[in-house]
């Protein structure tokens, strides 16, 4: 596929390699420094983006990825350095201004308006057609349909956006970004809420745009995705530039080392995670018998034994979260029942589940997990206090002990009990959430995506913690979109597909490919077809 613009026909060979130094970069940042006194968020970073390439921007949380993007699009002011677009120095006043110069950004969360029509979401702002000074609805829908078709999306432009799935909304967002003169497309974590199929369609669209000569800046936490789609990568660490590589030249291990800047020891210690002793069977801690809820998950059976980690594997929307929510009273089951340590118990509210020693951290950390306006201390004791009721406050001394213990044990930073939770990083917020539940001394801990969107270091620490807790006899139900992680941590894995538990397998001796097979059974070949 030859790019249509943005390169001179003289050097096709260099271009094919995806590393085109002789062409003029469409965006070039030189010595960019962004300061929020007294700290420096980006220190003299250089970055180049060429037409027709997919360029991954890599780094842990806090490395400066988002700051770089925001500096480029004018959200943040740079204190030194130059931004050159198409050879001319630019300083954008904001995303709108950047957009007008052909630089569009699509964020992790769909930033469109669900109450408007698909057509409006694509066209409104700069490109909407007008008649007599007003909107030309018919033409707008027609143009939107053309753009959608270009993306391979066949939906009614007149329908309202929130009648579509998240994945379709994400693609509509990209569609919007590429309307008009789009030279540079910035995709900031676009894949985190998509399942494998949807990621594949997104990649197809990205490759199509790349072939059209669009430069794509891609940010993702998923290494395999980065390797699947990117041509080059730039690695940032602690606000500084580590380097720029052709993707093909940088093995994943090297990349991770560059990103975390320390040896991967933490990671390795978890590698061995679950070949710790397999717990003795005996009486299950929790048995779900025919537990189900209409429209959310079909009735399933599941046993969890003391000291056992049960992983849930499945695509987004396969019912893995819904399964967990029924186990923990977050949602009410409409069929089946639960048996806790041999006795039938109704777990119809979170409180009822807590009373049985069952704790649940939601996948939606911001929405259903943290209370961001309260302090670390208050967040940690929240569940414990809620269990006691408001009339019997925990003695302050006991609170301080509990809080100090978990700040220390989980390495919560800053180690300040009075810090507001909104000022903590995602990883530390997750640790506070874990502390909240550990403080209630649960017998069964249900963790829904505890490692999503947090940096590699914190991720490893949480994985390690899960293994340790299980070693101490706690039962854990572990949900993650990353199969490797589920395999590494779990003793047994329940595989879900289409809101149904399709299999339960021992993790020992099971490979990722086998689980993928189970998840995808029936439409295995689809990935290749797309």
């Amino acid at each position: 596929m030859l790019p249509r613009r943005g390169r001179t026909p003289e050097e096709p060979a260099a271009f094919e390699k995806g590393f085109n130094v002789t062409t003029q970069p469409v965006v070039e940042l030189t010595g960019i420094t962004v300061e929020f006194p007294p700290v420096t968020a980006l220190a003299g970073v250089d970055f180049r983006l060429y037409p027709g390439e997919i360029h991954a921007l890599m780094g842990e949380n806090g490395a400066g990825k988002s700051t770089l993007i925001k500096a480029l699009t004018g959200v943040y002011q740079t204190s030194s350095g130059t931004i050159t677009v198409d050879g001319a120095e630019q300083r954008f006043s904001g995303p709108g201004d950047a957009r007008a110069h052909g630089i569009s950004t699509v964020y992790q969360e769909v930033n469109l308006c669900g109450n408007l029509t698909v057509a409006e979401n694509i066209m409104l702002g700069a490109a909407e057609p007008r008649v007599l000074g007003g909107l030309h609805w018919r033409k707008m829908r027609r143009l939107a349909a053309q753009h959608l078709e270009r993306m391979g999306l066949d939906i009614d432009p007149g329908s309202s956006l929130d009648s579509h799935s998240l994945a379709v909304q994400q693609l509509v967002a990209i569609c919007r970004a590429t309307v008009g003169d789009c030279k540079v497309l910035i995709l900031d974590e676009p894949t985190s809420s998509l399942d494998a199929d949807e990621v594949e369609s997104l990649f197809a669209v990205m490759r199509r745009l790349k072939a059209d000569g669009v430069a794509i800046l891609f940010v993702s936490h998923f290494l395999d995705q980065v390797y699947a789609v990117s041509d080059r990568m730039t690695v940032l660490r602690n606000g500084g530039l580590v380097g720029e590589w052709a993707t093909a030249d940088l093995p994943a291990g090297e990349l991770v080392k560059h990103m975390i800047g320390r040896s991967a020891q933490v990671l390795e210690s978890v590698e061995r995670g679950h070949d710790a002793v397999r717990p003795d069977a005996g009486e299950p801690r929790l048995q779900a018998i025919g537990l189900g809820r209409k429209g959310s998950i079909q009735p399933y059976d599941l046993d969890v034994y003391p000291g056992e980690v049960v992983g849930l594997a499945g695509l987004l929307g396969s019912g893995r979260t819904e399964l967990a929510r029924l186990l923990t009273g977050a949602d009410r089951a409409d069929s089946g029942g639960t048996v806790v340590e041999g006795a039938p118990r109704k777990l119809h509210t979170p409180r009822a589940a807590m009373a049985q020693g069952i704790a649940y951290t939601s996948e939606d950390r911001k929405g259903e997990g943290i209370v961001d306006g309260l302090t670390v201390r208050e967040n940690i004791v929240l569940a414990l206090q809620a269990e006691r009721g408001w009339v019997r406050p925990l003695p302050r001394r006991q609170v301080d002990e509990i809080v100090a213990k978990y700040i220390d044990q989980l390495g919560i930073r800053p180690a300040d009990p009075e810090a507001l939770l909104r000022n903590l990083s995602g990883g530390n917020q997750q640790k506070v959430l874990l502390a909240r539940w550990l403080a209630t001394a649960p017998k069964l801990l249900v963790l829904d995506e505890p490692t999503r969107g947090i940096d590699v270091g914190a991720k490893a620490e949480i994985q390690k913690l899960v293994s340790e807790l299980a070693g101490e006899g706690m039962s854990v139900v572990f949900i993650s979109a990353e199969l490797e992680e589920v395999l590494r941590l779990s003793h047994r894995i329940a595989v879900l597909r289409d809101r149904k538990v399709v299999a339960t397998v021992d993790a020992e001796g099971t490979t990722t490919d086998q689980v993928v097979e189970l998840i995808a059974r029936g439409n295995v070949a689809e990935g290749d077809a797309a």
Binding site: T105, G125, I155, D197, S201
Partner: protein, 332 residues
């Protein structure tokens, strides 16, 4: 693309063929209005007469203007508590300036622009200084009401010939009577409708209600639009004052006390969600007519005291709100 996506697309198409959810609340209002008219028609002999219909519009012209402005603000997810007071201020300004001998051609723009200015102040407080709409417009409500008393504590009659001529103009279409106030009010509705549906400003109003952050990242002029929405509401409120003065031929500081509640009730009954993003100006018009019909029915009933109006409006609000809630629950 993959099969999943096209499957979704088909289901999206199918759902688009069903009656659009967006119109359901407004259809509900229409049904209630029709039902009340039918009940009134069967109970009272001369209920379904052109004069009753005409009066419905004539007596509520000012409220129609208020409700249209309120719709803009509520669509952005805000609220404007000041409209009753701004209406009063507008009547007082009109009456006192006319009394002072100013020409109508100057007085009316001055009154209306005062409303726009107050709206602008609201918008700036809300958008620039991050004051909550409820608080900012509450301050505006107190401000305008206090200003009324500073200008004129007593009721001022209007006897300016040009103004009375304008206020007294009417036209008969068959047995239907239209006054200048009604024409202006309906013009406000039409303009409101066109602006909301056929301009970028109007669609941005909806977009803000759907998600302010998103609208901002879509590159829409969120700040300007939000401020303008309050300007629209202030202007409409002052226009409402003009219409009110045309009906009463006087200006009084105690006009329109608690009328913001009527306006909000009309908008909500008209199917606009207070959370913003969903609703129509035409729904608000229907809401006003529904409120007016309740009043008419209670007048016709004769032996019912006027406070029943409030109770019935309360009950109607309850029914509508619960129905809307049920509707939104079914959606998720």
């Amino acid at each position: 693309m993959t099969t999943t996506l096209s499957e979704r697309a088909t289901s999206g198409w199918v759902s688009a063929l069903r009656p659009d959810r967006r119109y359901l609340p407004v259809l509900g209002t229409l049904a209630v209005l029709a039902l009340m008219l039918v009940i009134g028609g069967t109970r009272y002999d001369n209920f379904l007469t052109p004069i009753v219909y005409s009066n419905l519009f004539i007596n509520n012209a000012h409220l129609i203007a208020l409700a249209v402005g309120m719709t803009f603000v509520i669509l952005t997810g805000g609220i404007d508590l000041s409209v009753g007071s701004v209406l009063a201020l507008s009547t007082v300004i009109i009456a006192s300036l006319l009394q002072a001998g100013w020409p109508v051609a100057v007085v009316l723009p001055v009154a209306v622009l005062t409303g726009s200015l107050i709206g602008l102040a609201h918008g700036v407080m809300i958008q620039v200084f991050g004051v909550q709409p409820f608080v900012a417009t509450l301050a505006g409500m107190f401000f305008a009401r206090g200003l009324c008393f500073v200008i004129a504590p007593e009721s001022i009659p209007i006897d300016d010939p040009a103004f009375t001529a304008l206020a007294g103009w009417d036209s008969w279409m068959g047995h239907f009577r239209t006054t200048a106030a009604v024409v202006i009010a309906l013009a406000v509705v039409v303009i409101g409708f066109v602006v909301l549906h056929y301009t970028r400003f109007g669609r941005t109003v909806y977009a803000i209600g759907g998600g302010e952050q998103s609208a901002m990242l879509m590159g829409l002029a969120v700040s300007r639009t939000k401020v303008l929405a309050y300007v629209v509401s202030g202007t409409c409120a002052a226009l409402g004052g003009l219409l009110f003065a045309m009906g009463n031929r006087s200006g009084y500081a105690l006009n329109g006390v608690a009328m913001e509640l009527d306006a909000i009730a009309a908008v909500v009954i008209g199917g606009t969600l207070l959370t913003g993003g969903t609703g129509f100006v035409l729904g608000s018009l229907l809401g006003v007519l529904t409120l007016g019909t309740i009043q008419t029915v209670i007048q016709f009933e004769g032996n019912l005291s006027s406070w029943w109006t409030k109770i019935v409006i309360g009950v109607l609000l309850l029914i509508f709100v619960v129905l809307q809630r049920a509707l939104s629950l079914r959606k998720t």
